[in-house]
Each structure stands twice: as C-alpha cells, then as structure tokens.
Symmetry: C2
Subunit: 197 residues, 2 copies
C-alpha cells in the first residue's frame, strides 16, 4: 500500500467525537493567550489547562500559529445601519465596546498579541478596516474623512481598553461603566460627526 489514505474522514463541519476536546483546547488557549501573550503562552501550558496531551494541540490545530489563528476569529458585532442614531453613535459605540471587552477575553488576546506579533497587528488592522470603518462611513459627514475619523475612534477606544483591561491603571479600573461612557461617548461622537476642526 504505497498510498496512505489521509485521516480526513470528515472535512465537512460534521459533529466529531472530539469536539469537546477541541473546544476545551480553544477555551484554554484563549485564556492563556489573554493572560500571557503569544510567546509566553506555551502549548504545554495550554494543554495542561485543557487536561490533554500537548500533541493533541498539534493534531487538531497544526501548529501554535494555527491555534492562535483559530482563537483570533473575532466578530465585533457592531450595530448595522438601523439602530444607529447619528446623535447617539458615540455613546452607543463606547458602551458596545465595553460590553465586548468584558464579555470574554478575545479582545484582550487580540490587543496583547497585536502589540507583540506582526501577524497579530495585521489581523487587528483587518478587523479595524472591515468592521469599524463601515460604521464611520455611514455616520460621518464627508466619506473621504471616514478613515481618519475611524482611526481617531479606534485610538480612544483602544486606549481606554488598554488602560482599563490590560495595564489596569487603578483609576481607570475604578471608573464605573456609565462614567466611562459619559466621558468617552462625546469624544467618539465628535471624532465621528463633528466638522473638521
């Protein structure tokens, strides 16, 4: 038998018996990547958290980078054209991002790895371009300014996430959610809709 039949019995998204293990790995990886960043999160530690053998990670995700890519499938679920009151877009966006950041650690992973790893930075650029820019295009007065205004918005949102969830500056952590919205909402509102200063 010179020809080896590859395992490949279920290339389709059928339910596999190993799905529980797969998601256990994914969950542990998300936590480890969020806590330690890309380089310090080792496959061995992820495997230990998931209570399986390190070699299983390789089997199911090919490599550390493959696992990382699987973790980083992020959908910001930004509001569509409806539900976007142009007068409230600032507060709405800030609140939405706070929700996202506290709902799970994916965004922390993204930020931590985007800062460390060039591939992570590229992925972050992609998410910014594909998900935040359209919102800016919809609400800002001059479409030509949309990229700049989206970038300004991103800078403020990312900065607060940084101070609050990654660096954990005590005053930023202590700030109640509604107060963050009250401060940052008008800023984002201005970045997106105010006339060019």
């Amino acid at each position: 038998m010179p020809d080896k039949e590859l395992p490949a019995p279920a290339p389709s998204p059928a339910a596999r018996r190993s799905d529980t293990t797969r998601t256990a790995i994914l969950t542990a990886a998300r936590e480890r990547f969020a806590a330690d960043g890309y380089e310090r999160a080792t496959i061995r530690s992820i495997a230990k958290d998931a209570r399986i053998d390190p070699s299983m990670v390789m089997r199911y995700y090919g490599s550390k980078e493959g696992l990382f890519a699987a973790v980083l499938d992020v959908d910001l679920r930004l509001p569509g054209p409806d539900g976007l009151d142009p007068h409230e877009v600032g507060r709405v966006l800030v609140g939405h991002f706070l929700d996202l950041w506290e709902e799970n650690e994916v965004l922390t992973v993204l930020l931590r790895v985007g800062v460390t790893n060039p591939d992570g930075a590229a992925r972050m650029q992609g998410i910014f371009r594909d998900q935040l820019m359209p919102v800016a295009l919809r609400v800002c007065p001059d479409p030509e300014q949309a990229p700049a205004r989206a970038a300004l918005t991103a800078s403020q949102v990312l900065g607060m996430a940084m101070a609050r969830y990654v660096l954990r500056f005590p005053p930023a952590v202590a700030l109640p959610r509604e107060e963050v919205v009250a401060w940052l909402g008008p800023t984002v509102q201005r970045y997106l809709t105010a006339p060019h200063p």
Copy 2:
C-alpha cells in the same frame, strides 16, 4: 539580587574604558526591544547587533531583566507648573507626547513590554502615577478627580500612540501631526479641565 560584590572598581559614575560597549549594548537593546518585544528580543540578537559577545551583556547588566530595566529609565519631561497655560494644556500635552514618541523608541518599548510583561505594566503604572498625575493635580478643578482625569488623558494619548506607532493603522499614520493635535488636544483639555459630565 541585592548587592553582590561586583568587580566594582568604579561604582561611581566615573568614565570607564568600556562605556562605548555599554552604550552600544543599550542602543541595540532599545531597538531590539522596540522591534520585537521582550520575549522575542534575545540577548544573542542584541549582542550580535552590538557586535559583541552575548556574555558581555550578562557581565554588564547581570541578566536579561537587568538590561531591560536599564533600557526602561524613562523621563517624560512633562512641563512644570510654569509653562502650563490651563487653557492650552490639552494641545501642549498632546504635542509633547507626540514629540516624545517620535524622538526615540523608548516609549514604544515601554508600551510593547507593558502589554506583555507584568513587570512592564507595573513600571508603566509607576510612570503614569509619578509623572502624569501631578500635572492633572495642578490643572484640574477638583483634586479628588485628578486620578480619573489623568487616567482618561492617558487612555487617549496611549491609544493614539498605539494606533499610530505600534499597530500602524494606515489612517492614523497618515494623519499629520498638527491634525492629531487639533483633534486630540480638545479631548485632553476636556478630560482635564471640563466639569464632570
């Protein structure tokens, strides 16, 4: 590592014959740490950049963490009580931070490592607390709100630095300096001096 008896012939800042090598190491380390982050910047690669032997790094800085600590001696040189027009503090601070960020890579190192490494985050908190908070205390109306207002300021400044110098979002990089000041200046001004919303 308290105080071991180093060869210590010149514990005082006297001129040593090896100073050129020492600064060569420090320069190479700053660039490598800025480009690669703490974990990926290896002592071997730093030594190769400085064209010396890896063991010299150990000799002069004790360990990788020692070298890292030597790199991270950051003085933001924020303006003192004089030269702080309360009506212009926003624009002044934003401009000053842009200067700092473009003058050398130390702040990029700090941010990159602050995000990855817990010690780096601690150091960043220290710089924030010791250097930015006093400014907020001086210009903001209610001293009790100073920490929160300083944190808000830090979030916006850090976020822009992130988007522009670390993640390199194209629209953020393309923004001319004066436009960044025009957009972010009023924001910081409001965070520091406007009445609580």
